[in-house]
Point group: C2
Chain length 504, copies 2
């Protein structure tokens, strides 16, 4: 880690120049061609060298397209009507000729750049065409090369200690499938093992949604957590009322997630006490909640909930608690996984004494599922964890190509280095604009960086006018979720445009 | 309908000859080339003319592949290790050179044949490649042609009266999204309209999964129903204990689904009384259940639950009940939709006085979602019905190609005609083998045909040895779910092979 910081330190003068450079303040403005060609070693050598802002966003063509779409599809959450044919690398284009540096990346789900040529090859392969048009019911009629696709793709990046996978389609799906596996595991354990059959009472009560067949067990999650929006996953989501209002939910417990003070190194003692308090409350809930938890689920960095961090010690504490009370530890890496934190899986930062029981993934993987290692997590009979498609080989083939691209370009390491460089630049910016950048966080976590802004929504809106697409999280956080092909020259550009907003 | 039956009647002699033809009883046997070229007008002129059975299934190569896969993926529900490169039209191939007539079609989800050339074109188009590699967060950054893809695809086959869609990815997903829309609609209505804001109590209680924010409302479903396997959908699924055991469920009501006697025309009075009983019990539950239903969800033909039918009068009764009690009527067309019943949507058979409030789809659509028509079903604020991907343009493009192929070949009408022909043939078989084919059902419902068999699992197993891949449903039903490209010559072959099994 220290060497990475030094590496970022060496390039600081360029950054300083970049920040100091005066830029036009008129918006909307045409910002293109302010830069010379990007640094040597650019992953997308023919990428735009800077954003182009030609109109307000949405411009007239986009407005017409939005109006048309809104007749048949809800567009009230629409952020930008995109033209993906014109998007490339880190740049997203719209119908009006605007081309923005994209550090939101489809809510953190584009891994290696728009129209990535390696993915293009995979997408146009005969193998992909067959996977698309001959979609199998994987549990019944898997394609003969499914083991190969898994082993050379999804499983080639399996977290340490986890060598099996159950595939799904979305992050919500992945988490709910993991929860189901946890409930079946816990009930089997309570029953006395895989060989003990269901009682008649369990069988009959399951059909009327009553205990013991439909057991009064729970999944413990944390305040501000986000694990998805279907009924089981939403019951563990505690991000915002708008995500939960009016939807029936299970009576499941939420433990407090540590509320840390930043910068972390200045509040070490207070933060340690806060984490200890949260661990104690977690244990209290595990041992006393009316529907006992079968598992604890946690995000390495709470993302939708506002980019909330905790220390490796906290997560090690959770791992110990789950072992002590014989329940499962599920790590939800839907948003943190696949490289963005400078490790392939964010929980690698923790150096756990034993691996999580399950790790869920989606987003940048462009497919979804949960990894596991313990054979006891295979339910004792077939058809218990089952559905028609059980994932999608087409998307699994795409993830394999994404993995190949990540390895070819060493993108996890690159993201670690670029992230440190970007964090240092933001720290400098925060010193100049302390009201604009508060509670800067994500140091040493790749480009998975965020800060709080008292005028967050205004900043995000203004960012578009200066050529950058940025997202928020929680109530006031600006969250950066660039792709893994985000490099130093992109970081320079982002820092410059942020300063432009703060100055205005 | 009458004209279709006459049309099927005219070809009866050929069927009779087919059934009477003696066939070899040795199994496993090589059955290929027993037929001359298929009838003129075959949709796949170069399709195999008959199955080939070279080995027991699984054969040695398949066994090796299964063994390898089982190390990383649960294979206990595996039915057949498929080689999709060698599959074509209605025929599925395996690694050992076996080529079977497939009337199960990936659990009813392959619409227009393996390696269909029209789908091949769509799958290899630049548009598809872009959709695969530039996957948008559709709610935030839709691609500019999303309205066009919807209008020329998914919405071009929207059920009458429903002109909007919310897209998802699986059948479970589609149903749960529809349930969420129903709950938000009902609570808005109880609150007094879209303009009435949430109370502080609703907001705070939603975050702790408690009422009123997480309301005590329900979805009413029926005995033997199948609506999916995630937590909300599984709470409405009542198919089999193995689907539900050990998974926590919501305390939601189930009404009795009519238990009809076959043939329907011989038991008209008894069946009408049974349906009336079920409607009365449904109304009783709607008015008295502790968590009042926001919606009733029903399949046009209960599929996983054993192929249970009810009359149009019953479904019209449900529609009236939901209107009377001001709740929503959701029709789950995940398995029945997209042509298999001889109508594009099975609920078209009912001639409803007003359309369903929502219709869900997946499987043969190769994508998923729910149709709706009422603007009040758009929640009153953005981000209430939302998730990262909200469907998949790649799969929506594929569904468009499927629709084009269905229209080009007039496959819905063809399925209606072939279905009648097949039903008549099965009726004749049932007369010769009354113990083998009991409660034959699906008359006038295209190829969506099933019957009960006292030795169902044995029949399904033997079917493979004579070259046919067939599935079951419920405890004892043999269910036919051929593709829409299943034609008369396939029906002849199926009937012949069934007789071969029954004779043995």
């Amino acid at each position: 880690m220290a060497s990475l910081l030094r590496s970022a330190g060496r390039v600081r003068p360029a950054l300083a120049r970049s920040i100091a450079r005066p830029v036009s303040r008129v918006a909307p403005i045409a910002l293109s061609r302010q830069y010379a060609s990007p640094a040597a070693g650019a992953f997308f050598p023919d990428e735009p060298t800077a954003p182009t802002v030609k109109t307000q966003i949405p411009g007239p063509k986009s407005q017409a397209a939005i109006e048309r779409l809104s007749k048949v599809f809800d567009t009230r959450s629409l952020n930008m009507m995109a033209d993906y044919g014109q998007s490339y690398g880190n740049y997203i284009a719209d119908l009006d000729g605007n081309v923005l540096l994209d550090v939101y990346a489809q809510i953190a789900s584009i891994p290696v750049g728009y129209n990535n040529p390696t993915l293009q090859l995979a997408a146009t392969s005969p193998e992909m065409a067959s996977a698309l048009i001959n979609r199998p019911a994987l549990g019944n009629f898997p394609q003969h090369d499914w083991a190969d696709i898994l082993e050379t793709g999804i499983l080639s990046v399996a977290p340490k200690g986890l060598d099996q996978v159950f595939t799904g389609q979305t992050g919500s799906d992945a988490n709910e499938l993991a929860y189901k596996a946890a409930f079946m595991w816990k009930r089997q354990q309570q029953r006395g093992g895989a060989h003990v059959d269901f009682t008649d009472h369990e069988i009959s009560s399951s059909m009327t949604n009553e205990s013991p067949g439909a057991p009064e067990l729970s999944i413990l999650s944390f305040t501000s957590a986000f694990h998805g929006r279907l009924f089981g996953s939403l019951s563990t989501t505690r991000s915002k009322p708008i995500h939960k209002l009016d939807i029936p939910a299970f009576d499941w417990p939420q433990a407090p997630f540590p509320s840390l003070k930043y910068p972390l190194d200045q509040f070490a003692a207070e933060n340690a006490a806060e984490e200890q308090r949260c661990l104690e409350e977690t244990e209290h809930l595990i041992t006393t909640w009316r529907a006992p938890p079968a598992a604890v689920v946690v995000e390495p960095i709470q993302s939708e909930g506002g980019d909330n961090h905790a220390s490796p010690k906290f997560f090690n504490g959770l791992r110990e608690l789950t072992k002590k009370h014989d329940i499962l530890f599920i790590v939800d890496e839907v948003q943190t996984g696949v490289g963005a934190t400078g490790k392939f899986w964010a929980h690698e930062h923790w150096n756990l004494s034993s691996p999580p029981d399950m790790v869920t993934f989606s987003k940048k993987a462009q497919t979804a599922g949960y990894y596991y290692g313990n054979n006891d997590l295979r339910p004792n009979k077939p058809y218990r964890q089952f559905n028609t498609w059980m994932g999608d080989p087409a998307r699994a083939i795409l993830f394999r190509a994404i993995i190949q691209e990540i390895k070819r370009l060493n993108l996890v390491q690159s993201t670690a280095v670029t992230g440190n460089y970007l964090f240092d630049g933001l720290k400098q910016l925060a010193e100049h604009y302390p009201k604009e950048i508060q509670n800067l966080r994500g140091k040493g976590q790749g480009t998975f960086i965020a800060w709080d802004s008292p005028r967050r929504d205004e900043v995000l809106k203004k960012a578009k006018s200066v050529g950058v697409n940025i997202g928020g999280s929680g109530e006031k956080a600006v969250r950066l979720r660039p792709m893994l092909v985000f490099q130093q020259h992109h970081a320079d550009l982002l820092l410059e445009r942020l300063e432009q907003i703060f100055k205005a």
